[in-house]
């Protein structure tokens, strides 16, 4: 499964804002980290603002701030703001859909969809921030120190 770029950016931006609750971040600051234009990110932030997940603070030192509940907002909530999820549900007009083969294939695709939805709806932004911490690349110095200790 691959997420659209806008969806990924929305998730990255939300993570940045959740871990910086006391700061407003500009689209330029967030965009610089992920190598994306402010223009593209601004459109993403507008969608998040309409969903009341972020709010825009104007003026000097302004930017975006997270205003949702990080322990209740799931990845599924965010993804569904930007793209439909899953294999598209039943389409009776699709070729072979009404055959035994078509129905059997639909059962398997539905199983996959259900698993994907269950996974995405179980990961909140707060949980994702915890995962980010666990998967953060180690600074080169720490890796070297650990390798040195392992050799002793």
């Amino acid at each position: 499964m691959k997420l659209q770029i806008s969806t990924q950016l929305a998730i990255f931006a939300l993570v940045e804002l959740v871990v910086n609750p006391d700061h407003q971040l500009t689209v330029a600051e967030i965009g610089a980290k992920y190598g994306v234009s402010s223009h593209h990110l601004a459109k993403v932030m507008q969608v998040l603002a309409r969903a009341r997940l972020v709010r825009s603070i104007r003026g000097a030192g302004g930017g975006y701030q997270f205003c949702g509940n990080a322990r209740r907002t799931t990845l599924l909530d965010v993804i569904e703001l930007f793209e439909p999820l899953g294999s598209g549900g039943q389409d009776a007009s699709a070729p072979g859909e009404r055959t035994g083969e078509g129905r059997a294939l639909r059962v398997v695709m539905d199983e996959i969809d259900n698993t994907v939805r269950a996974t995405l709806s179980s990961i909140t932004l707060a949980t994702l921030c915890g995962l980010v911490d666990r998967h953060r690349p180690e600074p080169a110095g720490e890796v070297k120190a650990r390798v040195a200790m392992a050799r002793q």
């Binding site: 322990r71 799931t74 259900n114 698993t115 269950a118 996974t119 709806s121 179980s122 990961i123 909140t124 707060a126 949980t127 915890g130 666990r134």
Partner: protein, 177 residues
């Protein structure tokens, strides 16, 4: 044969000592204590479970408690209660070390975890999970597992927040009608 039986007795005695140690050193949170479940807890455990699942299964909890007290099983049945009154049960957790089922190396399974709805989000569930995790780790277990219904968002969100991820097994089933 006698030698093997002696070895087993020694192992069981060592488990008994470990359990006694765990029981005598309850883990305290700010507002609760975690300790091994006792027979006088069964009523409150059964009532809490019934309030949440709408199913009364007192015998089931009694059986699990008996297994946790038996030296034949590496099973753990812990409760959290308010330190001021041992009658005030806040939650409970049940788990067991199981080996070689489905080809899996020994791992710690969490079968049940329940927290009184009025005290949720106060760290009781986290403390119970941490306590059983410590029991597993003490026995050199490196993997903890559980199973959650896909349509149960609360336990799913809880276990995910505690760092649990999908494992290498997929649960399969078949209608037998």
């Amino acid at each position: 044969m006698k030698k093997a039986a002696g070895k087993r007795t020694k192992l069981l005695r060592s488990r008994a000592v470990e359990r006694r140690d765990a029981a005598s050193a309850p883990k305290t949170g700010d507002k609760f204590v975690i300790r091994p479940a006792e027979s006088h807890d069964i009523g409150a455990i059964s009532a809490l479970d019934a309030r949440i699942t709408s199913l009364s299964k007192k015998q089931h909890w009694q059986d699990l408690l008996a297994r946790s007290k038996s030296l034949d099983f590496a099973q753990f049945f812990l409760v959290a209660d308010a330190p001021a009154s041992s009658k005030s049960l806040l939650g409970f957790i049940v788990g067991e070390i199981r080996a070689w089922e489905f080809g899996s190396a020994p791992s710690g399974w969490v079968y049940a975890l329940s927290v009184e709805p009025g005290v949720r989000e106060h760290g009781v569930g986290e403390a119970l999970l941490a306590a059983i995790e410590a029991e597993f780790k003490r026995r050199k277990i490196t993997k903890m597992r559980t199973m959650v219904a896909k349509d149960s968002p609360l336990p799913m969100l809880f276990f995910r927040a505690e760092g649990m991820m999908a494992g290498p097994y997929i649960q399969l089933e078949k209608d037998l009608t």
